[in-house]
């Protein structure tokens, strides 16, 4: 199975179960989705339930809000997170606030799905990670789907909950082969320990998680220690207790995200860990992220702007040696 097929399966099952679930977005229907995530659903459920929209991101989210008011459970696909900036009023001023402003009278079970991240030479306007923007807005749940399992269960959860959910995927994960590991009681609000270890806690998600896992054996060999790798499914709320408990054990923290480092969500994770377990730490936390530049088109420069497996390994090894591992 492919990562994108896990997302498709989640939507398919929820649509089959609940006729109030609908999908809307640009090219999601007749065309089958620009990343093929909604492939086949138009043929199966028809154009009333898989709704092609004009290029009008603000009103894609706006009409999804109206649909939720009218009793539906819409899944709005924004083609990429870059275009969500056109919908920020509807996301931030409307979706996140109407429940509160109405004293709880209006409930908006809306999911907004979108891929983010740096793919390959798409240049600055198509190569961003923006989770920090969403995660800092009260009233939104923000999920990140790192693999087929969290994609499948996380999206099913997002469609089922009455809270508005921003559901972030990664462009480069769509064609990756993965399997859904069966889980009986999945909660997106529990962080997932992907690998246990004793010497360094590494927190990551989406593509950076995979890049990290690739080089963990090198890091462990070079530093003669073991790494505990934690994947997040929800970044707001954040399962801080799982992370803090791990850091209490390892005494060291590394956070890896693809956002430019200034103001990245990694800062929030590090800040929360410091508040909880500052005196337990044996080394200052290490933050790995993209350079503070718009993503360049040129491939060499592009690779220089983002964390790669090699960079992740060398940065952690250098940091580990400096701080006595």
């Amino acid at each position: 199975m492919l990562y994108r097929e896990a997302l498709n399966k989640a939507m398919d099952e929820m649509m089959e179960k609940d006729p109030s679930v609908v999908i809307l977005g640009e090219d999601v229907g007749f065309y089958g989705g620009n990343y093929k995530v909604t492939e086949g659903l138009y043929a199966k459920y028809g154009r009333k339930r898989v709704i092609d929209t004009p290029i009008a991101e603000n009103s894609i989210v706006g009409t999804a809000i109206g649909m939720a008011i009218g009793g539906l459970r819409p899944i709005a696909e924004i083609m990429t997170v870059n275009f969500s900036l056109l919908a920020m009023d509807q996301i931030v001023n409307q979706l996140a606030k109407i429940r509160y402003m109405s004293g709880g009278k209006i409930v908006l079970p809306v999911v907004i799905r979108m891929p983010q991240g740096v793919a390959k030479q798409l240049a600055a306007q198509h190569s961003q990670s923006l989770e920090r923007f969403f995660a800092s807005v009260p009233g939104l749940r923000v999920f990140v789907a790192s693999d087929a399992t969290t994609a499948y269960y996380g999206l099913k959860y997002a469609i089922t909950t009455d809270d508005p959910v921003i559901f972030l995927e990664h462009t480069l994960l769509y064609p990756e082969k993965m399997e859904i590991e069966e889980e009986k009681n999945f909660s997106p609000y529990r962080a997932r320990i992907k690998k246990e270890g004793e010497g360094i806690t590494i927190v990551s998600y989406l593509k950076m998680l995979h890049d990290t896992l690739k080089v963990v054996p090198i890091i462990e060999k070079e530093l003669n220690t073991t790494c505990e790798v934690i994947d997040l499914c929800s970044i707001n709320p954040l399962d801080i207790s799982t992370i803090a408990n791990s850091v209490k054990k390892t005494k060291r923290l590394v956070v890896i995200t693809e956002e430019p480092k200034t103001g990245s969500y990694a800062n929030e994770i590090i800040n929360k860990v410091l508040e909880e377990v500052f005196y337990e730490l044996d080394a200052p936390p290490l933050k790995i992220g993209s350079e503070d530049v718009p993503t360049p088109y040129n491939r060499t420069l592009e690779l220089a702007s983002i964390p790669t497996p090699e960079k992740i390994a060398s940065l952690i090894i250098k940091w580990g040696r400096k701080h006595g591992i």
């Binding site: 989210v61 409307q94 009681n185």
Partner: protein, 323 residues
């Protein structure tokens, strides 16, 4: 036009006017905070539209007290919301600009110009999807017709063929910018006429607003398509209580006030035998009493308890896990 409609118009328009004049006083006393946008002068549009529309979802802008009252929301709960009290329609968390009550199919009270227009389109889509042909009403000001929200919403409504009445209240000013200084033409219905039937009417005449909206409702429900109405009206008060309103001449204000919608209704109603002096007197006394009681209620209502701060952000009983 029946006698009972004329009487309802008079009652609701007068209630709206007295309510807002009283709200203005309470604002000056400091009992109402934030922004307060008064619709004095525009009552014929608000009341005529709500009654002409009848059953269905309503999405309104932030100048919405009279819409809410005409819709049947109790004056005391609306006033309590303005006072920020827990007894308010939105538990004191929304205020003047955010009156919501699904019981009355009333969905705001939106304070971002034009942002509720796509909501109306989505709601109409949802109703149609579930086999309900009832139309949806979205009202907005002249300023909103220059926004992306407006063009996106009319485009989607006409493409998807959903039954939305777009009611533009052209009061000639977007805060202090006159309509012809922000749009290449001042007849705003022209912006929609290639998408849907679009008309311009006298918004100071409640009978005309009522009849037009009623016909539009029949149209959107029979055809399953949108309809656009531009109602020419005027707000006597500044944009909000924090605006001086000095961009309008006293002469211009006088011309507008000479066409006062309530006086207009009284005159026509008496002439046609739809209203009596006795009824008018009865209503004038009655609404004073209702509004005084509303203010008393709001004043005596408790503040929201501090734990309300964290309520209504997310669902209280969330699903726990999924398999």
């Amino acid at each position: 036009m029946s006698k009972s409609y004329a009487e309802q118009f008079y009652y609701l328009m007068k209630l709206g006017r007295v309510f807002e004049l009283r709200a203005k006083e309470e604002y000056m006393k400091g009992n109402i905070g934030g922004f307060l946008h008064l619709a004095i002068g525009e009552e014929a549009v608000h009341v005529g539209a709500v009654l002409g529309f009848g059953k269905g979802d309503i999405f309104v802008h932030y100048r919405e007290h009279v819409y809410a009252l005409a819709r049947g929301m109790e004056p005391k709960y609306v006033m309590a919301e303005l006072f920020g009290k827990i007894t308010g329609v939105s538990k004191g968390k929304g205020g003047s600009m955010h009156l919501y009550d699904p019981k009355f199919n009333f969905y705001g009270g939106n304070a971002i110009v034009g942002a509720h227009l796509p909501h109306a389109v989505g709601a109409a889509y949802a109703r149609k999807y579930t086999g309900d042909t009832t139309g949806v009403l979205a009202s907005f000001g002249d300023g909103a017709t220059n926004s992306g929200n407006f063009f996106e919403a009319i485009n989607m409504a006409a493409t998807w063929q959903v039954p939305v009445i777009f009611l533009c209240e052209n009061n000639y000013y977007a805060i202090g910018t006159r309509v012809d200084r922000a749009s290449p033409f001042a007849d705003l219905y022209k912006k929609a006429k290639d998408y849907m039937p679009a008309v311009q009417i006298d918004g100071m005449d409640v009978f005309e607003v009522f009849e037009t909206v009623k016909k539009a409702k029949e149209y959107v429900e029979t055809e399953g398509k949108p309809y656009f109405i531009e109602a020419l009206t005027y707000r006597y008060e500044p944009h909000s209580m924090s605006d001086t309103g000095d961009y309008r001449s006293p002469r211009e204000l006088k011309i507008a006030k000479d066409k006062d919608p309530i006086e207009n209704l009284k005159k026509k109603g008496l002439e046609k035998g739809l209203l009596t002096q006795e009824y008018i007197k009865f209503v004038d006394d009655k609404v004073q009493q209702i509004v005084e009681e509303a203010v008393e209620f709001a004043l005596n209502s408790p503040e929201p308890p501090l734990e309300e701060l964290y309520n209504d952000v997310f669902c209280e009983v969330c699903i726990d896990v999924i398999s």
